[in-house]
Structure formats: structure tokens, C-alpha cells
Amino acid sequence: MSSEMSTSTPPVPEKPRNPVFEAMGIPRIRLPGPKMSVFLLTVAGIAGLIYYDKRERRANRQKWKDRVSHFAEQPLPVTALTRKVTVYLSPPPGDHMEVTMEHFTQYVKPILTAAAIDWELVKEQRQGDIRYEVAEAIRRQRRGDDDRTPEQKALSSVITRDTDGGAICIGRGAYKEYLHGVHEGWLGPLEPPASLEPVATTPQPPSTEPAADVKDSFVESADIVINEANASSAAAESGVVTAQTPPGANESEKPVSEEEQKIKDEEQKKKDETAKKSPKAYISTEDYATAPTPAEFSKIDHLEPIMYIPHPHILGFRHTPIRTYRYFTKRNLADKVGAVTAAVVLNNFRQFIPRIDVEAGKHEEDEWPVKWKQTGIEKGSEWMQDVVVDERVVDKLRVYELPNNLDDGGFVKNDDGFVADK
């Protein structure tokens, strides 16, 4: 197209140039050609979209920071500590922890910092670890364990911390695990049930080499003919070894040490496997309804309020359009996440409503990789199970929510800071 245009337009006679410029080697200034124009416009357009999004994102973030910054301006006695929330992070399915971390640092952390709220990160790589951590903390509370050092105890009598806690779960998976963890901690037994011990240690690969080896070494003494089907390379090897070892006291010693070694190897393997897997739940989701109410449960008025922070994350080449759209509209995400974080900061909560709150972030599950979900269902993944809640726990659960009147500027300043104007 451009070649046609260049041939169709008659050559413009060049104007005489200033000889000074010519002597300095400065080229003649021309308008960019059609190809160059297209290129420049595309680059400028994309850059403009990115710049605009970034600017708006920053503005949205600033908006929520300003809404909560009055908390940071309150005076704090030297012997007091600010409120601390716990943030639960887990990597999104099929991706790395850094993704969640970035989501947190980009959208959640600035607002917490602006409001002078301290936070504790609970980063867990494996599924089920958040549930275990949450449940274990509750069990410790129920048992009355106190693993603080004497120094810490002495300090805590002097230094007081703001007791309004709060739990922030980033993403649907962490939220699910948190809910199950609370149930497990309160409704489950204090000590791991006996049925769990063998379950936790027995999962081993279906008859792998070490097991076969042990069997082979027993074969010698039992004098059983090795099964032809089992006569793999390992069996053949052990046969060779027995043929070479001279008869006598030495023989009885060596197999034992080998056996021991093998058993040790096996134990090590089991240990590695259990270390790879997160600890199993002390109580299954089906047993929530029938579990007895622990005595300590009636003593507490409420459980820690929770907030689910949306973490939209989609993978895969097929979803490039969605991902592109999201890339250019991060400002909306900043606004949304900023709002829910501000709800945590403002400490405004309501009762947990199972109909709504169990389903919070359910749409995220549709975006999880299909293959990942399949293997998750096959392996009985916790993230693929439905959230089960029990009435007793739900009664004491609370969820953060942004006050309704916040958006109409329903906040006035008085001497104590900002209060909701009713």
C-alpha cells in the first residue's frame, strides 16, 4: 500500500536548506511515513493506556489511603502497640507465591500501612497448611498453652496491644482453608485422632522398589521361589549378590545390615512424603454437624472477624483477551481491593451469613486451571471440596463489610477522629 502511495504522489522538489544545518550533518526533518505513523500510534496508544491505568490505580489507592489515614494520626502511648491483623496467603493454583505476594503488596499493604495497622503474614505453599495453622492456633488456645518465654510474659504485662485482631484471606483457596481451619480447631479433638496416625504415615507409592527389595531379602531365608513376574532387575541383582557372598557367619550379618539400611531408607522416604504433605484434618467436614461442642467454645463471645480479599488470576494462552483486559484495568481491582481492606481497617463487621459468605469468591474457582482442578478432584484436594459450615461456629463468626454510608461522604471529624455520621 505504501509503495503505491509513494509511486502515485509526484516527487516534491526539495527546498534549499540552510547550509549551516547541512554542514553540521543535521538531517532534514520530515513527517513520519505511513508505516512509521502506524507504529508510533500503536506504541503511543498502548503506552497511554498503561500510563492512564497506572495513574488511576494510584488515585484509587490514594482515595482509600486517605479514608483511613486518620487512624495513623492518633497518638499512641509508648507502652502500647497498634492493632495487628493476620494475613493468610497461598499461591494461586498452578502459579507461584510471588503472584499472591505482589497482589498483597500492591493493593492491600498500602492501605494497612496508611492506617498504621500491623500485620502478620502467614505464607503457606501447600494446600491444607493454612487450615492446619488456624486450627492449631485455636487448639493451643483451647488447651491453654503458653509458649512465651518469661521475658515475653514480663513484657506483655507492660506493653499492651490493641486487641481488635482480624483475619485477611487473600484468594478463595485461603478463605476456604481458613473457614475449615476454624471449624477444625473448635469442633475437632485436641489431640490427633488415632485413626489419623496410620493414615498420615501409610501413604506410600504402590509397591515401589524398597518394598520389593525387603521381600527379596526375606526370600533367601524363607526359601521361596522368586516369582517370575517379580524377577525384575532388582531381584536379579540380589540373586547375584547371594551367589557371590560366601557361606558362614558373614552371610547372616550382611543381609541384616542391608535390611536395616533398607528399612531405614523406607522410613526416610515415608518421612519425606509426610513432610511434603500437609497434616490431615483432625475432623472431616462431614463430622462437623455431629461433633460435640467443646466446653471452651461457650466461653468465647465471638470469633475473629474475617475478610475475603478477591484475587482474580487466570492462566493460559486461551484466556489472553481476559488477561489483556485485566492488565489494562487494574485500577478497578485497586478500587475493589482497597474498599474491602478499608472495611477491615474501619473494623466494621456483620454476622456471617452462610448463604452469602460461603460462596464469597466462588467465581474464582471457575478461573482455576482445568487440569489442576481435575487432579485436585482425583487427589481429594481441599481446595476442590465445598465449604461446609456448622451453625454453632457460624453464630460466632463475623465478616468485615464496608459501611454503607461511606460512599456518600458520611464521615465527619470530631475530636476523637472520624466517626460515622448517622
Binding site: S69, F71, A72, E73, Q74, P75, L76, P77, V78, L81, T82, T113, A114, A116, I117, D118
Partner: protein, 88 residues
């Protein structure tokens, strides 16, 4: 300086000069570290304009985190240096 019974004017055989010097050096190092941390965290967290004589929530939270980060960094750097020294 009457630390560890020094300056009593009595020669004591069970005091090791080297040890005491080492302790002195360590004390200097620790106090220098504290000074440095105070300066860094003050500059980072406390705004230059004077508003009130107490730290507010935001500032004290910042100081808290700053100090924690400072010690964490020192720990990491120290262990790295030790590793390097062990390799040589």
C-alpha cells in the same frame, strides 16, 4: 569505667586484659549499631516538621517495623559473612 571491677586499683590475676578489651570492643560495636539504627529509623519514620511531642500510631508502627528489619538485615549479613569466612 568501673565495669567488671576495673578501676579498683587492685591488680587481679584472674582478669584477662584481652578478654576485657574484646568486651569493650563489642560494647562499642553494639552502641554504634544502636546509634545507626536510631538515626536510620528516625529519618525514615519521623517527618521533619514538628507537630507533637509523642509519636503517633503511624510513626511508631513504622519505627517498630524499621527496627525489626534492621536486626533481620544484620542477622542475614552476619551469617553470609560467616559463610564466606568459612569458605576461605
Amino acid at each position: 569505667m568501673s565495669m567488671f571491677g576495673m578501676g579498683l586499683g587492685r591488680p587481679q590475676s584472674d582478669y584477662d586484659e584481652n578478654k576485657i578489651n574484646a568486651i569493650k570492643g563489642e560494647m562499642l560495636m553494639v552502641s554504634a549499631m544502636k546509634d545507626k539504627m536510631t538515626n536510620i529509623c528516625y529519618e525514615k519514620c519521623v517527618p521533619p516538621h514538628y507537630s507533637e511531642n509523642d509519636l503517633n500510631k503511624g510513626e511508631s508502627n513504622c519505627v517498630d517495623r524499621c527496627a525489626a528489619k534492621f536486626f533481620e538485615t544484620i542477622k542475614i549479613v552476619g551469617s553470609e559473612l560467616q559463610k564466606q569466612a568459612a569458605q576461605q
